[in-house]
């Protein structure tokens, strides 16, 4: 199966859907591996929200594309270069600080994204956004709370959060390298960037994390299907079952 996507809006929405899906898969890896029982369940809830969000977006994409493929087709039958998620969200769960820093940076970003989608001319997308923003709000409160706890916690928790932020900030630049599609479907790209920066910078200051200078990156853009080295492993685990047993049913 070679999945092709024709429509411009579908191509644009695929970036948002893939970002939700891949982060959902990463967070799902914490299920039964959380730092303690309550946080394990919190992370599983966040993961399920992300999968639900991705599924609804794939359904909207499928509809735009004339139902050539199902949501499952998009998830299980595309390879690395056919995925268009932010590199930020495919980064591994090195430790709990990575998980939290990644989630926080993502939450602030999608809060801006779905706020703008609320006034989209695509009614389904606008409707979905209202529901999704509540989930994002909770996830944001949760991840921001942990940013403060870790940043202002022990010497070790501060060091781990600083390492996580320093590493993950390398993957932020590409988020704001807007292209034609972004400019067409967001009302205000610059606002996404400026709101993201002021919110994240204020939080990093408040939790005592420094923003180290990052040398300009020579990474190729996620909008063209480029990834870090982690995506292949993630997909191989996520897609194994339906690829090995195409007729398998729940």
């Amino acid at each position: 199966m070679k999945i092709t996507i024709e429509n411009k809006e579908a191509k644009f929405l695929l970036r948002i859907a893939d970002t939700a899906l891949i982060l959902g898969q990463r967070v799902a890896e914490l299920c039964s591996n959380g730092p303690f029982l309550e946080e394990d369940i919190a992370q599983s809830n966040i993961s399920l929200d992300l999968f639900g969000r991705a599924e609804e977006l794939y359904k909207i994409i499928a509809k735009i594309e004339g139902d050539k493929y199902t949501a499952d087709d998009y998830v299980f039958h595309r390879n690395e270069r056919e995925y268009f998620n932010l590199k930020l969200v495919e980064q591994p769960n090195e430790d709990f600080a990575w998980t939290i820093a990644r989630q926080y940076m993502h939450d602030v970003y999608v809060q801006e994204v779905f706020s703008q989608f609320q006034s989209s001319s695509n009614e389904e997308l606008a409707g979905l956004s209202a529901k999704v923003l509540k989930e994002i709000r909770y996830s944001y409160l949760h991840s921001k709370d942990w940013m403060m706890r870790l940043g202002l916690g022990t010497e070790e928790s501060h060091r781990r959060l600083q390492d996580a932020v320093s590493h993950l900030r390398k993957f932020v630049e590409e988020i704001f390298n807007w292209d034609e599609l972004d400019r067409e479907y967001y009302q205000d790209c610059d606002k996404i960037k400026s709101n993201w920066e002021s919110e994240v910078n204020a939080t990093l200051d408040a939790c005592n994390i420094t923003r180290e200078d990052i040398p300009s990156q020579s990474m190729r853009d996620y909008r063209d299907g480029f990834h870090s080295e982690h995506i292949g492993h993630l997909l191989s685990i996520m897609q194994y079952l339906p690829r090995a047993y195409p007729d398998a049913k729940w």
Binding site: I41, A42, N45, H142, D145
Partner: protein, 94 residues
């Protein structure tokens, strides 16, 4: 969890106006974490609209040794139940 955490009792209100019901407990370091953990454990399937968390150590209970003194005397006093009244014919909703 390591030292520093506490156990908190969780009460959920299904909807505004109804009484809060005890549903279980959670571990957490402080109030904020306690309500978040309670939300994630006890309201993820639409169980409620409001939550209370109370440190377990703040709950006052009757010492087990005193249970007989506290509760046994009420067992043979059926007249404390309002079941010895004739209900007038006109009363419909009792």
């Amino acid at each position: 969890m390591e030292s520093g955490d506490k156990v908190w009792e969780v009460f959920v209100q299904k909807k505004s106006g109804l009484p809060f019901k005890h549903v279980g407990n959670v571990h957490a370091y402080d109030k904020k974490m306690a309500v978040q953990n309670a939300r994630d454990l006890y309201t993820r399937r639409g169980e409620g609209r409001e939550l209370w968390v109370v440190p377990t150590s703040e709950i006052v209970s009757v010492p087990l040794d005193d249970a007989d003194a506290f509760f046994d005397p009420s067992e043979d006093k059926p007249y404390r139940h309002a079941t010895f009244y004739e209900i007038p014919d006109g009363v419909k909703h009792l």
